[in-house]
Symmetry: D3
Subunit: 237 residues, 6 copies
Amino acid sequence: MRPSGRTAGQIRPVTITRQFTCHAEGSVLIEFGNTKVICTATAEEGVPRFLKGQGKGWITAEYGMLPRSTHTRMRREAANGKQSGRTLEISRLIARALRAAVDLNALGENTITVDCDVIQADGGTRTASITGACVALVDALNHLRSKGAIKTNPLKHMIAAVSVGIYKGAPVSDLDYPEDSEAETDMNVVMTDTGKLIEVQGTAEEEPFSFDEMNDMMQLAKASIMELFEAQKTALI
Amino acid sequence: MRPSGRTAGQIRPVTITRQFTCHAEGSVLIEFGNTKVICTATAEEGVPRFLKGQGKGWITAEYGMLPRSTHTRMRREAANGKQSGRTLEISRLIARALRAAVDLNALGENTITVDCDVIQADGGTRTASITGACVALVDALNHLRSKGAIKTNPLKHMIAAVSVGIYKGAPVSDLDYPEDSEAETDMNVVMTDTGKLIEVQGTAEEEPFSFDEMNDMMQLAKASIMELFEAQKTALI
Amino acid sequence: MRPSGRTAGQIRPVTITRQFTCHAEGSVLIEFGNTKVICTATAEEGVPRFLKGQGKGWITAEYGMLPRSTHTRMRREAANGKQSGRTLEISRLIARALRAAVDLNALGENTITVDCDVIQADGGTRTASITGACVALVDALNHLRSKGAIKTNPLKHMIAAVSVGIYKGAPVSDLDYPEDSEAETDMNVVMTDTGKLIEVQGTAEEEPFSFDEMNDMMQLAKASIMELFEAQKTALI
Amino acid sequence: MRPSGRTAGQIRPVTITRQFTCHAEGSVLIEFGNTKVICTATAEEGVPRFLKGQGKGWITAEYGMLPRSTHTRMRREAANGKQSGRTLEISRLIARALRAAVDLNALGENTITVDCDVIQADGGTRTASITGACVALVDALNHLRSKGAIKTNPLKHMIAAVSVGIYKGAPVSDLDYPEDSEAETDMNVVMTDTGKLIEVQGTAEEEPFSFDEMNDMMQLAKASIMELFEAQKTALI
Amino acid sequence: MRPSGRTAGQIRPVTITRQFTCHAEGSVLIEFGNTKVICTATAEEGVPRFLKGQGKGWITAEYGMLPRSTHTRMRREAANGKQSGRTLEISRLIARALRAAVDLNALGENTITVDCDVIQADGGTRTASITGACVALVDALNHLRSKGAIKTNPLKHMIAAVSVGIYKGAPVSDLDYPEDSEAETDMNVVMTDTGKLIEVQGTAEEEPFSFDEMNDMMQLAKASIMELFEAQKTALI
Amino acid sequence: MRPSGRTAGQIRPVTITRQFTCHAEGSVLIEFGNTKVICTATAEEGVPRFLKGQGKGWITAEYGMLPRSTHTRMRREAANGKQSGRTLEISRLIARALRAAVDLNALGENTITVDCDVIQADGGTRTASITGACVALVDALNHLRSKGAIKTNPLKHMIAAVSVGIYKGAPVSDLDYPEDSEAETDMNVVMTDTGKLIEVQGTAEEEPFSFDEMNDMMQLAKASIMELFEAQKTALI
């Protein structure tokens, strides 16, 4: 029934490649099926001005898509002179989710900037970004520890994310582009590996959804995210 | 226990003033306690290029805050040369919610632009905006019908929105600024008057939240939004 | 003869509401008939870099219009990415006029930023802005005195402004939109309550005007502005 | 008493060089003493969208300063990414003044764009610009007539402009930079060669000015502008 | 003597991977050692306005770097709101070089947009971009032919590019980052596979260079580019 | 055979006028035939942040064209809100060339900013700019020496530049606009008066060029530039 032949709760094959590029403190290529995102984590000393002198760190994120990561070419945001609302919204989501995974006091006055650049898009780019970004973040935190910049591990828990939705009347997990573009409802869920919620964003694209449908989607999301934590663990061994 | 002395599920006094300004087809001042937003709905013939010739209408929205609507003055976005990510995110949310309330085919090739401008902020500006915008939208749709531009009422259902959150460990409804700035979790919920969901956006500001906490917040939201529908109805008589 | 039935020198009813919003040190809603402007004055410690260390204060102003304050919706300047020449010109005019009302040395190293946001436009928005801004400025200066930030009152005199013009061949005062859009000449005059001039800006929109016509307009302006000082006084009691 | 040794009503030597550059339909170098401005008038077929199909023409203007036209280098506006409020204000002033000199109906659907670029500044750049721009405009109109694009001369009258002010308590004409930076009041006056007013912009820089002072300045301006019309006539022979 | 141990004329290992991403008509990952660039070619019907109705096609290009493609993170140009001069200069170079490889008349009214995005930088990103872009261009042209949009092959010849320079007094080919940052002179050369020159850009970074040194560099470049044509041929089999 | 009747190696008459404007430390009008550029050099204390504390100076440059310096009016870059790629590329070229002429250590922590503004364009504006800028730079350096800001002359050698190209199959020097717009190849060469190369930028506009053609162009350039050094010397006496 799903165009890909997947079952309702079946996510796409997930591949996580660490050290994908050589300069960043953390560099991950994450693939959710045909969706491919490069996530790099850059660790720098110092914090933005509003945090100076508080002994706390900061985590920020930027999201982008290569112009031809999509079916038809999108205009390059750098050439447009501004980032779209969608881009800024996703950047803010990724950053907020990562900050919720880290004890910023334990990070000290260091800033980690995570860049998530989509090189091929097939739905779910923001959830793949968050899932990959967390692995890149771990590598950057380990880098800081190994060079002595921080004493303890600031990571409170791993985070991962998946999109779920109502497609042709039934809840499904990890929507690809053909599903996403026709789904009645789309919900992005970010969780901790302790089973708690970081972010829930559900949107009725076509039809309002019921509380029961929301619960069904939440259960699907929970199961799928648990699989993503396994993929992260395997990659981090 | 709440700084305002309200009970957990008690929303602030809601006032909806129609025809607040004289030029717009719909013009509403909505007040959620000290939060005050001017919502105007502008009806114009024609649609954006991507919709031309399809016989469908469009609804879009823009959100803004007067520089001194807040405790300390914010820089004017027009002077900054760009809208912040937060502004764009809220504009997109309002527009998406309103589109879900309307049968765009019945709207014909007309565009309604809703402007939500916060003149005084005390938490919950985006939910007040959505709730007031829906009333302004009704007036603009009635204007289109009365001048014969549309035949049937394109409104599928009323929508309204409230913020709920976990404040000092307990779920509360319609957070004001003192609560919002200390809440562990913040969730904005948009519903239809048929009891269904349009948008759910929950964010762990400090601590991840459990599925049970989410359910509690959802129930609070449902009850509060029902009160908002009453306020809308009273205003529209 | 005037569309509104007013006599040549008759200004529209003027209403000045102080403490219109709750956060700003000065907050005024001023109405010149259907023209309505929110004027807030924000007092902040410190001065712009070019004034640092001179012991002098600074006053600046920004003007804006809500998108649907006008008959047809104007594009939002924040979304356009820049303020129009008209907006910048009016902002500069308001700021210059207010600075001429204040002894900047007595203000000490404090900055007052006045925001004039038009919520409903019917001609004369810049003169209403100046007249309302001066009241908001008084409240902000009083705030600074009451908290001990300044010792003496830096206000040298009140200022107020009116537009005059040649409409259908005759000089009239306080043009509303229907008059303004057809006037041959339009002149904005800012005066002190000591009867002196701060700013005179006269423009031939259609036909050049004579020295005699200019004198007639100046006399009308003087009389009208004296009425505005009465309205300010009443509001400030 | 004036730093330059001039009498109160004495303007600086004025030089007007036509055909200063070779590509523009009108190209003038105007010098008011050490103030030097290149004014070019470009005639193009067609009008902006808001005028299409009305059979009327349009005149617009842009003002700029070379970065080192001033005592210390100003940042290049093209590099800043925006024009300052002052630049836009002067551009609007020049355009408005030129439009008041021309019968736009007689211009037909042609647009004339006047560029005034200051290559050396010593006060009075906007009045020199207007005075030179009018000569460049005449050349561009003659170009249109000689190629048959227009039948009659759309010029209604010549215009010219001068700045006057109160310097050390006395009214003076054509302020140079040392005077301008210390003047109590500064007034720019644009007139027609039929002795009427196009634009009056008076500003109290330091001290409010009286109605009498304003009249004195206006009389000085009138006499000086008459001299400028002589300079224009000589150049146009 | 070279940090990498390479001989003066030895280029880095070159890898060209076609169909690197799935949406673009041409998609190539090119590697010059540690320099890695994704080059996609997008074929679209129609041409920019200035070419409409001439029956000719157009080729354009945009260059970008992922923020952490470099040793330290660069600010994202989309977030900065503008592309740097360096970015625009390289984009123009790539586009010009590709246009010189193609008979634009034979391309018909089609546009090919080539995006070169550096995911890892180690010197020579612009020459790697040109060399990879030509392969992506070939795939896009073949796509147009196979779908019947063009009749004949518009490709006049292959192009490839290499950087050469004077490093520690001696000419070397294909500079990597450690060499590039210390080279006295840097020259980028673009050639056709018929042995002719498309572009030569030589710059004295530290010391002026002699005509003899220039000739030496040109000879090195020629030999290296011939190797690149072999790599392209192998990839295109 | 050349439209101007010049021989292949004949450059246009060159005029260099020093002290063209009065404020800048160096101010030159350079004319290559009908191409006229104002070059000003501004000397300021201090250096950009990336150089602070190293005891070295900096030289930067900006290039611009008056809107009607060309056959048809170009849009003003300041009004566009950004500089074109071509403008930035030429600015970078001029700055790089001037830095190669100066010992930045001997300059001390001073910055020289050169502005090259084209007031009339007829081909070769960038080479005229470089040639004139070097003279303005000399004047600014002498200014610094005469006021004691630097001890020794930081100038290592004079620089000058010319464009050469293949026009109707034959190499020619100093292309004017009619030649430039039809040339098969265009090459800009910057040299020192010690006979060495600073910059070589050759581009095949239509047809690839051979190594022999390149050599021919280089020889023409060398001879022409030697004439430019004579013109500089004459101007600097």
